[in-house]
Protein backbone atom coordinates (compact mmCIF):
# COMPACT_ATOMS: atom_id res chain seq x y z
CA UNK A 1 0.00 0.00 0.00
CA UNK A 2 1.04 3.58 -0.59
CA UNK A 3 2.36 5.03 2.65
CA UNK A 4 1.60 8.66 3.53
CA UNK A 5 4.95 10.44 3.86
CA UNK A 6 5.76 12.08 7.18
CA UNK A 7 5.93 15.86 7.13
CA UNK A 8 9.62 16.74 7.15
CA UNK A 9 10.16 19.56 4.68
CA UNK A 10 8.95 23.14 4.43
CA UNK A 11 7.03 22.33 1.26
CA UNK A 12 5.24 19.42 2.94
CA UNK A 13 4.45 21.61 5.95
CA UNK A 14 3.15 24.28 3.59
CA UNK A 15 0.84 21.75 1.95
CA UNK A 16 -0.29 20.49 5.35
CA UNK A 17 -1.10 23.98 6.62
CA UNK A 18 -2.92 24.72 3.39
CA UNK A 19 -4.88 21.46 3.50
CA UNK A 20 -6.10 21.97 7.05
CA UNK A 21 -7.08 25.61 6.76
CA UNK A 22 -4.20 27.48 8.35
CA UNK A 23 -2.77 28.87 5.15
CA UNK A 24 -4.97 30.46 2.51
CA UNK A 25 -4.29 29.08 -0.95
CA UNK A 26 -3.57 32.59 -2.19
CA UNK A 27 -0.50 32.76 0.07
CA UNK A 28 1.24 30.32 -2.24
CA UNK A 29 2.86 31.53 -5.41
CA UNK A 30 2.62 28.78 -8.04
CA UNK A 31 5.41 30.41 -10.04
CA UNK A 32 8.08 29.50 -7.52
CA UNK A 33 6.15 27.33 -5.06
CA UNK A 34 7.29 29.81 -2.45
CA UNK A 35 5.44 31.93 0.00
CA UNK A 36 4.86 35.54 -0.86
CA UNK A 37 4.14 36.73 2.62
CA UNK A 38 6.44 35.78 5.49
CA UNK A 39 4.03 36.97 8.16
CA UNK A 40 1.25 34.81 6.69
CA UNK A 41 3.54 31.80 6.94
CA UNK A 42 4.58 32.63 10.49
CA UNK A 43 0.99 33.22 11.51
CA UNK A 44 -0.08 29.89 9.99
CA UNK A 45 2.53 27.94 11.95
CA UNK A 46 1.65 29.80 15.13
CA UNK A 47 -2.05 29.15 14.63
CA UNK A 48 -1.40 25.45 14.13
CA UNK A 49 0.85 25.30 17.20
CA UNK A 50 -1.75 27.15 19.26
CA UNK A 51 -4.56 24.87 18.10
CA UNK A 52 -2.52 21.73 18.72
CA UNK A 53 -1.38 22.87 22.18
CA UNK A 54 2.31 23.07 21.22
CA UNK A 55 4.81 25.72 22.23
CA UNK A 56 4.14 28.67 19.97
CA UNK A 57 7.55 29.19 18.39
CA UNK A 58 6.46 30.12 14.88
CA UNK A 59 9.11 27.70 13.64
CA UNK A 60 8.88 24.28 12.07
CA UNK A 61 10.56 22.62 15.03
CA UNK A 62 10.72 18.88 15.59
CA UNK A 63 7.67 18.84 17.83
CA UNK A 64 5.58 20.61 15.21
CA UNK A 65 6.75 18.37 12.36
CA UNK A 66 6.12 15.29 14.51
CA UNK A 67 2.53 16.33 15.18
CA UNK A 68 2.00 17.13 11.51
CA UNK A 69 3.11 13.58 10.70
CA UNK A 70 0.50 11.94 12.95
CA UNK A 71 -2.44 10.13 11.35
CA UNK A 72 -5.43 12.42 11.50
CA UNK A 73 -8.86 13.34 10.21
CA UNK A 74 -8.91 14.93 6.77
CA UNK A 75 -11.38 17.66 7.69
CA UNK A 76 -9.92 21.15 7.97
CA UNK A 77 -9.22 22.45 11.47
CA UNK A 78 -10.10 25.96 10.45
CA UNK A 79 -13.48 25.73 8.79
CA UNK A 80 -14.33 28.65 6.53
CA UNK A 81 -10.75 29.86 6.34
CA UNK A 82 -10.09 29.51 2.66
CA UNK A 83 -9.11 32.57 0.72
CA UNK A 84 -11.85 34.56 2.34
CA UNK A 85 -11.35 34.60 6.10
CA UNK A 86 -14.28 35.64 8.21
CA UNK A 87 -14.04 38.96 9.96
CA UNK A 88 -13.28 37.65 13.44
Amino acid sequence: AVQAAPVSTTTQAEMYLSQFGYLPASARNPANSGLQDKSTWLNAIQEFQNFAGLNITGELDDETLKLMSLPRCGVRDRVGTGDSRSKR
Partner: protein
Protein backbone atom coordinates in the same frame (compact mmCIF):
# COMPACT_ATOMS: atom_id res chain seq x y z
CA UNK B 1 -15.30 22.80 20.94
CA UNK B 2 -16.18 24.42 17.68
CA UNK B 3 -19.31 24.21 15.60
CA UNK B 4 -19.24 24.38 11.83
CA UNK B 5 -22.53 26.27 11.60
CA UNK B 6 -24.98 23.72 10.24
CA UNK B 7 -26.99 20.95 11.85
CA UNK B 8 -29.76 18.51 11.01
CA UNK B 9 -33.30 19.73 11.45
CA UNK B 10 -34.45 16.26 12.47
CA UNK B 11 -33.18 14.15 15.33
CA UNK B 12 -34.03 10.75 13.87
CA UNK B 13 -31.33 10.15 11.29
CA UNK B 14 -30.72 7.25 8.93
CA UNK B 15 -27.49 5.84 7.52
CA UNK B 16 -26.18 3.10 5.31
CA UNK B 17 -22.79 1.64 4.52
CA UNK B 18 -22.73 1.72 0.73
CA UNK B 19 -19.17 0.37 0.40
CA UNK B 20 -17.64 -1.90 3.02
CA UNK B 21 -13.91 -2.23 3.80
CA UNK B 22 -11.86 -4.97 2.20
CA UNK B 23 -10.41 -6.54 5.31
CA UNK B 24 -13.31 -6.65 7.79
CA UNK B 25 -16.51 -8.67 8.00
CA UNK B 26 -19.65 -6.73 7.19
CA UNK B 27 -21.37 -7.78 10.37
CA UNK B 28 -18.44 -6.49 12.44
CA UNK B 29 -18.36 -3.21 10.54
CA UNK B 30 -22.10 -2.75 11.09
CA UNK B 31 -21.65 -3.31 14.81
CA UNK B 32 -18.77 -0.82 15.08
CA UNK B 33 -20.58 1.81 13.03
CA UNK B 34 -23.65 1.35 15.24
CA UNK B 35 -21.50 1.78 18.36
CA UNK B 36 -19.92 4.90 16.89
CA UNK B 37 -23.32 6.51 16.27
CA UNK B 38 -24.41 5.52 19.78
CA UNK B 39 -21.68 7.77 21.15
CA UNK B 40 -23.72 10.74 19.95
CA UNK B 41 -27.15 9.45 21.00
CA UNK B 42 -26.05 8.78 24.59
CA UNK B 43 -26.48 12.39 25.76
CA UNK B 44 -28.97 13.71 23.21
CA UNK B 45 -32.27 12.66 21.68
CA UNK B 46 -30.56 11.83 18.40
CA UNK B 47 -31.34 8.37 16.98
CA UNK B 48 -29.58 6.60 14.11
CA UNK B 49 -31.30 3.92 12.08
CA UNK B 50 -29.43 1.66 9.70
CA UNK B 51 -30.90 1.19 6.23
CA UNK B 52 -29.62 -0.93 3.40
CA UNK B 53 -31.43 0.70 0.50
CA UNK B 54 -32.97 4.00 -0.47
CA UNK B 55 -31.95 7.50 0.44
CA UNK B 56 -30.43 8.12 3.85
CA UNK B 57 -29.09 11.09 5.73
CA UNK B 58 -25.54 9.79 6.20
CA UNK B 59 -23.88 7.56 3.62
CA UNK B 60 -20.71 5.73 4.65
CA UNK B 61 -18.05 4.47 2.23
CA UNK B 62 -14.65 2.81 2.51
CA UNK B 63 -12.70 3.99 -0.51
CA UNK B 64 -9.12 4.60 -1.66
CA UNK B 65 -7.21 7.51 -3.24
CA UNK B 66 -9.36 9.68 -5.51
CA UNK B 67 -12.96 8.67 -4.89
CA UNK B 68 -15.06 11.33 -6.55
CA UNK B 69 -15.23 14.21 -4.07
CA UNK B 70 -11.95 15.86 -5.10
CA UNK B 71 -10.34 15.10 -1.74
CA UNK B 72 -8.19 12.06 -2.48
CA UNK B 73 -6.99 9.77 0.28
CA UNK B 74 -3.23 9.36 0.71
CA UNK B 75 -2.65 5.70 1.51
CA UNK B 76 -1.77 4.25 4.89
CA UNK B 77 -1.21 6.87 7.61
CA UNK B 78 -1.71 10.57 6.96
CA UNK B 79 -5.38 11.24 6.44
CA UNK B 80 -7.56 8.43 7.78
CA UNK B 81 -11.05 9.60 6.89
CA UNK B 82 -13.17 12.66 6.30
CA UNK B 83 -16.81 13.58 6.62
CA UNK B 84 -19.10 16.30 5.39
CA UNK B 85 -20.99 18.69 7.63
CA UNK B 86 -24.82 18.55 7.57
CA UNK B 87 -25.08 21.43 5.11
CA UNK B 88 -22.92 19.40 2.69
CA UNK B 89 -24.83 16.13 3.19
CA UNK B 90 -23.19 14.48 6.20
CA UNK B 91 -21.52 11.60 4.32
CA UNK B 92 -18.46 9.91 5.85
CA UNK B 93 -15.58 8.44 3.82
CA UNK B 94 -12.91 6.15 5.26
CA UNK B 95 -9.56 5.50 3.59
CA UNK B 96 -9.61 1.79 2.83
CA UNK B 97 -5.83 1.77 2.51
CA UNK B 98 -5.75 1.95 6.33
CA UNK B 99 -5.58 -1.24 8.32
CA UNK B 100 -8.97 -0.87 10.01
CA UNK B 101 -9.21 -2.93 13.18
CA UNK B 102 -11.72 -3.65 15.92
CA UNK B 103 -10.73 -3.84 19.58
CA UNK B 104 -7.04 -4.18 18.80
CA UNK B 105 -3.99 -1.96 19.38
CA UNK B 106 -2.81 -2.90 15.88
CA UNK B 107 -3.83 -0.79 12.88
CA UNK B 108 -6.39 1.99 13.16
CA UNK B 109 -9.40 1.60 15.40
CA UNK B 110 -12.55 1.84 13.30
CA UNK B 111 -14.90 2.71 16.16
CA UNK B 112 -12.85 5.69 17.36
CA UNK B 113 -12.35 7.16 13.89
CA UNK B 114 -16.00 6.57 12.93
CA UNK B 115 -17.27 8.23 16.11
CA UNK B 116 -15.06 11.24 15.33
CA UNK B 117 -16.21 11.46 11.70
CA UNK B 118 -19.88 11.22 12.67
CA UNK B 119 -19.26 14.24 14.90
CA UNK B 120 -18.54 16.14 11.67
CA UNK B 121 -21.61 14.58 10.03
CA UNK B 122 -23.64 16.11 12.87
CA UNK B 123 -22.08 19.60 12.62
CA UNK B 124 -19.05 19.59 14.91
CA UNK B 125 -15.70 21.00 13.82
CA UNK B 126 -12.34 20.09 15.31
CA UNK B 127 -11.79 20.90 18.95
CA UNK B 128 -8.54 22.34 20.29
CA UNK B 129 -8.98 20.25 23.45
CA UNK B 130 -6.62 17.31 23.10
CA UNK B 131 -8.84 15.13 25.31
CA UNK B 132 -11.86 15.63 23.05
CA UNK B 133 -13.02 13.03 20.56
CA UNK B 134 -13.26 15.91 18.09
CA UNK B 135 -9.54 16.70 18.36
CA UNK B 136 -8.18 16.03 14.86
CA UNK B 137 -5.29 13.66 15.65
CA UNK B 138 -5.61 9.89 15.98
CA UNK B 139 -4.25 8.99 19.39
CA UNK B 140 -4.04 5.22 19.14
CA UNK B 141 -6.34 2.50 20.38
CA UNK B 142 -8.17 3.31 23.61
CA UNK B 143 -9.69 0.17 25.14
CA UNK B 144 -12.10 2.18 27.30
CA UNK B 145 -13.91 4.93 25.48
CA UNK B 146 -15.52 7.87 27.26
CA UNK B 147 -16.93 10.88 25.48
CA UNK B 148 -15.22 14.04 26.72
CA UNK B 149 -17.27 16.79 28.37
CA UNK B 150 -16.14 19.11 25.57
CA UNK B 151 -17.78 16.83 22.99
CA UNK B 152 -20.92 16.47 25.12
CA UNK B 153 -21.28 20.24 25.42
CA UNK B 154 -20.76 20.57 21.67
CA UNK B 155 -23.38 18.05 20.60
CA UNK B 156 -25.88 19.26 23.19
CA UNK B 157 -25.45 22.83 22.01
CA UNK B 158 -26.70 21.68 18.61
CA UNK B 159 -29.31 19.07 19.52
CA UNK B 160 -30.13 19.69 23.18
CA UNK B 161 -29.85 17.39 26.15
CA UNK B 162 -31.39 13.96 26.31
CA UNK B 163 -34.97 13.99 27.54
CA UNK B 164 -36.81 11.02 28.95
CA UNK B 165 -40.08 12.02 27.33
CA UNK B 166 -41.17 10.07 24.24
CA UNK B 167 -40.91 12.10 21.09
CA UNK B 168 -44.22 12.72 19.31
CA UNK B 169 -42.74 12.48 15.82
CA UNK B 170 -39.55 12.52 13.81
CA UNK B 171 -39.78 16.22 13.37
CA UNK B 172 -37.28 18.27 15.25
CA UNK B 173 -38.85 21.45 16.54
CA UNK B 174 -37.01 23.63 14.08
CA UNK B 175 -35.49 26.68 15.66
CA UNK B 176 -37.87 29.53 15.17
CA UNK B 177 -36.42 32.41 13.24
CA UNK B 178 -38.65 34.69 15.23
CA UNK B 179 -38.13 34.18 18.90
CA UNK B 180 -41.38 32.92 20.37
CA UNK B 181 -44.31 31.49 18.42
CA UNK B 182 -46.51 34.49 18.76
CA UNK B 183 -49.88 33.65 20.28
CA UNK B 184 -51.69 36.45 22.11
CA UNK B 185 -49.29 37.55 24.79
CA UNK B 186 -50.08 37.35 28.44
CA UNK B 187 -49.65 40.58 30.32
CA UNK B 188 -47.40 40.22 33.33
CA UNK B 189 -49.31 41.01 36.52
CA UNK B 190 -46.72 43.60 37.37
CA UNK B 191 -46.26 45.37 34.07
CA UNK B 192 -43.47 47.72 35.17
CA UNK B 193 -41.13 45.85 32.83
CA UNK B 194 -43.41 46.84 29.94
CA UNK B 195 -43.05 50.51 30.77
CA UNK B 196 -39.29 50.28 31.12
CA UNK B 197 -37.93 47.14 29.49
CA UNK B 198 -34.24 47.92 29.97
CA UNK B 199 -32.85 45.01 31.95
CA UNK B 200 -29.67 44.42 33.96
CA UNK B 201 -28.93 40.90 32.77
CA UNK B 202 -30.46 37.78 31.26
CA UNK B 203 -29.21 34.23 31.59
CA UNK B 204 -30.23 30.60 31.25
CA UNK B 205 -30.12 28.29 34.23
CA UNK B 206 -28.46 24.90 33.92
CA UNK B 207 -31.99 23.49 33.51
CA UNK B 208 -32.62 25.74 30.50
CA UNK B 209 -34.91 28.25 32.24
CA UNK B 210 -34.43 31.87 31.22
CA UNK B 211 -34.34 34.65 33.82
CA UNK B 212 -34.23 38.42 33.41
CA UNK B 213 -32.87 40.55 36.26
CA UNK B 214 -33.86 44.17 36.75
CA UNK B 215 -33.03 46.13 39.88
CA UNK B 216 -33.86 44.00 42.91
CA UNK B 217 -36.36 41.83 41.00
CA UNK B 218 -36.18 38.89 38.60
CA UNK B 219 -38.55 37.54 35.98
CA UNK B 220 -38.81 33.95 34.80
CA UNK B 221 -39.51 33.96 31.07
CA UNK B 222 -41.71 31.59 29.11
CA UNK B 223 -41.27 31.12 25.37
CA UNK B 224 -43.19 34.31 24.67
CA UNK B 225 -43.62 36.29 27.86
CA UNK B 226 -43.18 36.35 31.63
CA UNK B 227 -44.37 33.43 33.74
CA UNK B 228 -47.23 34.11 36.13
CA UNK B 229 -46.17 35.05 39.62
CA UNK B 230 -43.23 37.17 38.57
CA UNK B 231 -41.40 39.44 39.26
CA UNK B 232 -40.00 38.19 42.54
CA UNK B 233 -37.21 39.50 44.71
CA UNK B 234 -33.68 38.41 43.73
CA UNK B 235 -32.89 38.09 47.44
CA UNK B 236 -35.68 35.48 47.65
CA UNK B 237 -34.72 33.56 44.52
CA UNK B 238 -30.93 33.58 45.02
CA UNK B 239 -30.34 34.09 48.75
CA UNK B 240 -27.25 36.22 49.37
CA UNK B 241 -27.22 37.80 45.93
CA UNK B 242 -27.66 41.59 45.75
CA UNK B 243 -29.80 43.50 43.25
CA UNK B 244 -28.57 45.58 40.30
CA UNK B 245 -26.44 42.79 38.87
CA UNK B 246 -24.18 43.78 35.95
CA UNK B 247 -23.84 40.46 34.14
CA UNK B 248 -24.46 36.72 34.52
CA UNK B 249 -23.98 33.44 32.71
CA UNK B 250 -24.25 29.72 33.37
CA UNK B 251 -21.15 27.77 32.43
CA UNK B 252 -20.93 24.19 31.18
CA UNK B 253 -20.12 23.06 34.75
CA UNK B 254 -23.75 23.92 35.57
CA UNK B 255 -22.80 26.81 37.83
CA UNK B 256 -24.16 30.33 37.40
CA UNK B 257 -21.85 33.31 37.84
CA UNK B 258 -23.15 36.77 38.73
CA UNK B 259 -21.09 39.95 38.43
CA UNK B 260 -21.59 43.30 40.09
CA UNK B 261 -19.05 46.09 40.39
CA UNK B 262 -15.72 44.58 41.36
CA UNK B 263 -17.20 41.33 42.69
CA UNK B 264 -18.71 38.07 41.54
CA UNK B 265 -20.83 35.30 43.06
CA UNK B 266 -21.07 31.63 42.07
CA UNK B 267 -24.29 29.67 42.51
CA UNK B 268 -25.17 26.02 42.02
CA UNK B 269 -28.82 26.34 41.16
CA UNK B 270 -30.31 28.65 43.80
CA UNK B 271 -27.60 27.98 46.41
CA UNK B 272 -24.43 29.99 46.79
CA UNK B 273 -21.54 27.69 45.90
CA UNK B 274 -19.00 28.62 48.60
CA UNK B 275 -17.93 31.85 50.23
CA UNK B 276 -18.87 34.78 48.01
CA UNK B 277 -18.54 37.51 46.85
CA UNK B 278 -15.00 37.34 45.52
CA UNK B 279 -13.08 39.89 43.51
CA UNK B 280 -13.38 39.64 39.72
CA UNK B 281 -9.66 40.39 39.50
CA UNK B 282 -8.95 37.19 41.47
CA UNK B 283 -11.40 34.75 39.90
CA UNK B 284 -11.40 36.16 36.38
CA UNK B 285 -7.89 37.43 35.80
CA UNK B 286 -7.76 39.82 32.86
CA UNK B 287 -11.44 40.74 33.00
CA UNK B 288 -12.35 44.31 34.04
CA UNK B 289 -14.69 45.37 36.87
CA UNK B 290 -18.07 47.02 36.29
CA UNK B 291 -19.02 44.82 33.33
CA UNK B 292 -21.88 45.46 30.93
CA UNK B 293 -22.62 41.89 29.87
CA UNK B 294 -21.30 38.33 29.79
CA UNK B 295 -22.21 35.14 28.00
CA UNK B 296 -20.98 31.72 26.98
CA UNK B 297 -20.91 31.88 23.22
CA UNK B 298 -22.35 28.88 21.40
CA UNK B 299 -19.80 29.20 18.59
CA UNK B 300 -16.97 27.87 20.75
CA UNK B 301 -18.23 27.46 24.33
CA UNK B 302 -15.89 30.16 25.64
CA UNK B 303 -16.90 33.01 27.96
CA UNK B 304 -17.19 36.51 26.52
CA UNK B 305 -17.32 39.69 28.61
CA UNK B 306 -18.45 43.06 27.29
CA UNK B 307 -17.80 46.54 28.62
CA UNK B 308 -18.14 49.84 26.81
CA UNK B 309 -16.84 49.40 23.28
CA UNK B 310 -14.67 46.35 24.06
CA UNK B 311 -14.96 42.63 24.65
CA UNK B 312 -12.74 40.00 26.24
CA UNK B 313 -12.64 36.22 25.62
CA UNK B 314 -12.04 34.11 28.72
CA UNK B 315 -10.97 30.48 28.46
CA UNK B 316 -10.55 28.89 31.92
CA UNK B 317 -8.54 26.04 30.40
CA UNK B 318 -5.80 28.36 29.09
CA UNK B 319 -2.96 30.14 30.89
CA UNK B 320 -3.44 33.05 30.81
CA UNK B 321 -7.21 32.70 30.39
CA UNK B 322 -7.38 35.99 28.45
CA UNK B 323 -5.03 36.24 25.47
CA UNK B 324 -2.84 39.31 25.11
CA UNK B 325 -4.74 40.24 21.95
CA UNK B 326 -7.79 41.20 24.07
CA UNK B 327 -9.72 43.41 24.57
CA UNK B 328 -11.01 43.77 21.02
CA UNK B 329 -13.63 46.16 19.67
CA UNK B 330 -17.28 45.09 19.88
CA UNK B 331 -17.53 46.28 16.28
CA UNK B 332 -15.99 42.88 15.39
CA UNK B 333 -19.47 41.51 16.17
CA UNK B 334 -21.05 43.03 13.10
CA UNK B 335 -24.13 45.09 13.97
CA UNK B 336 -23.83 44.73 17.76
CA UNK B 337 -23.78 48.10 19.58
CA UNK B 338 -21.42 49.29 22.32
CA UNK B 339 -22.51 49.74 25.94
CA UNK B 340 -24.66 46.61 26.09
CA UNK B 341 -26.95 45.71 28.97
CA UNK B 342 -27.04 41.94 28.52
CA UNK B 343 -25.98 39.09 26.24
CA UNK B 344 -27.50 35.63 26.12
CA UNK B 345 -27.09 32.38 24.26
CA UNK B 346 -30.77 31.44 24.22
CA UNK B 347 -32.13 27.91 24.23
CA UNK B 348 -33.00 28.11 20.52
CA UNK B 349 -29.28 28.36 19.72
CA UNK B 350 -29.25 32.02 18.79
CA UNK B 351 -27.18 34.65 20.58
CA UNK B 352 -29.04 37.76 21.67
CA UNK B 353 -27.71 41.16 22.72
CA UNK B 354 -29.79 43.65 24.70
CA UNK B 355 -29.37 47.39 24.96
CA UNK B 356 -31.92 49.81 26.38
CA UNK B 357 -35.40 48.71 25.39
CA UNK B 358 -34.22 46.84 22.28
CA UNK B 359 -32.50 43.59 21.41
CA UNK B 360 -30.43 42.18 18.54
CA UNK B 361 -30.35 38.58 17.29
CA UNK B 362 -26.86 37.50 16.23
CA UNK B 363 -26.22 34.91 13.53
CA UNK B 364 -23.26 32.93 14.88
CA UNK B 365 -22.25 31.37 11.57
CA UNK B 366 -22.41 34.65 9.62
CA UNK B 367 -20.88 36.68 12.45
CA UNK B 368 -23.43 39.40 12.05
CA UNK B 369 -26.73 40.62 13.43
CA UNK B 370 -29.44 38.68 11.66
CA UNK B 371 -31.48 40.09 8.84
CA UNK B 372 -35.19 39.41 9.29
CA UNK B 373 -38.58 41.07 9.24
CA UNK B 374 -39.19 42.96 11.39
CA UNK B 375 -35.59 44.10 11.42
CA UNK B 376 -33.29 44.05 14.41
CA UNK B 377 -33.10 45.72 16.84
CA UNK B 378 -36.60 44.84 18.01
CA UNK B 379 -38.46 46.02 21.11
CA UNK B 380 -37.68 43.73 24.04
CA UNK B 381 -41.02 44.46 25.74
CA UNK B 382 -43.05 42.92 22.92
CA UNK B 383 -40.90 39.92 21.99
CA UNK B 384 -39.45 38.86 25.34
CA UNK B 385 -41.90 40.08 27.95
CA UNK B 386 -45.12 39.64 25.97
CA UNK B 387 -46.25 43.17 26.70
CA UNK B 388 -49.57 44.18 25.15
CA UNK B 389 -49.95 47.42 23.28
CA UNK B 390 -46.24 47.77 22.71
CA UNK B 391 -44.70 47.98 19.23
CA UNK B 392 -43.33 44.79 17.64
CA UNK B 393 -40.90 46.72 15.52
CA UNK B 394 -38.56 49.64 15.95
CA UNK B 395 -39.23 50.80 12.39
CA UNK B 396 -41.17 54.07 12.26
CA UNK B 397 -44.82 53.45 11.39
CA UNK B 398 -44.38 49.68 11.43
CA UNK B 399 -46.18 48.63 14.56
Amino acid sequence: YALQGSRWRVKNLTYKVSKYPKRLKRVDVDAEIGRAFAVWSEDTDLTFTKKTTGPVHIEIKFVESEHGDGDAFDGQGGTLAHAFFPVFGGDAHFDDAELWTIGSPRGTNLFQVAAHEFGHSLGLSHSDQSSALMAPFYRGFEPVFRLDDDDKAAIQSLYGKKTSQPKPSNAYPVTSTLRPSYTPPKVPLDDSICKDSKIDTLFNSAQGETYAFKGDKFYKLTTDSVEEGYPQLISKGWPGLPGNIDAAFTYKNGKTYFFKGTQYWRFQGRQMDGVYPKEISEGFTGIPDHLDAAMVWGGNGKIYFFKGSKFWRFDPAKRPPVKASYPKPISNWEGVPNNLDAALKYTNGYTYFFKGDKYYRFHDARFAVDTATPAFPRPTAHWWFGCKNTPSSTAVGDH
